[in-house]
């Protein structure tokens, strides 16, 4: 990826546990978004956090953004087997194009 790293690259947990994924980026951003991708399928938007926001919640998802450290984290609480997917962070500019991180492969075991 040209933008940064996601950590961890792969995460394996049991149902009911929480999953935390981290993302770092290099340039100034307008917003940071998290997307989910099931194997070989399209990307589904999960949540967007703007550069002037520090934390955002949506259902079982919690996203934080630290612009001083150029990092973000995605927390999925009470994970389910259906959460198994690849998760990508993507930074957006005011012009709109997204620059994706390398992604975290999350496996949730029933």
């Amino acid at each position: 990826s040209q933008q940064g790293e996601e950590d961890p690259q792969a995460l394996s947990i049991q149902e009911g546990e929480n999953a935390t994924m981290n993302c770092s980026y290099k340039t100034s951003i307008n917003n940071l978004q998290w997307y989910r991708q099931n194997s070989g399928r399209g990307l589904v938007h999960l949540i967007l956090i703007r550069s002037n926001e520090r934390e955002k919640h949506s259902g079982r998802l919690r996203v934080t953004l630290d612009t001083s450290k150029k990092s973000s984290s995605l927390l999925i609480t009470a994970s389910r087997a259906a959460d198994t997917a690849s998760y990508f962070c993507a930074t957006g500019t005011s012009y709109g194009k997204l620059t994706f991180g390398q992604g975290t492969i999350l496996t949730v075991h029933p």
């Binding site: 978004q33 399209g42 990307l43 709109g96 994706f100």
Partner: protein, 115 residues
Amino acid sequence: AAGVIQSPRHLIKEKRETATLKCYPIPRHDTVYWYQQGPGQDPQFLISFYEKMQSDKGSIPDRFSAQQFSDYHSELNMSSLELGDSALYFCASSLTQGLTKNIQYFGAGTRLSVL
């Protein structure tokens, strides 16, 4: 609700052939994006259009071109195909105004295989 429609879903071509991928954005969305995702890779931005004008360009080879038509659908044309062009190609659309601005809605993608 209508989503982004891409066609075809799968495409098999020989080296040096030409391919055309089509994208129909969500109605009333003003921006269309194209991304390429190689096997095991993250999506890479290729090109975007705002109100039918090219608005940004990424790592798109000279062999590729794209345009957006008066009905807002977009086409990605790929010529002199190479084995390395085998990938998933995604189209996304978004609004530049409103509550959902900057959120990109992706199509299911076109899987291109170059043999």
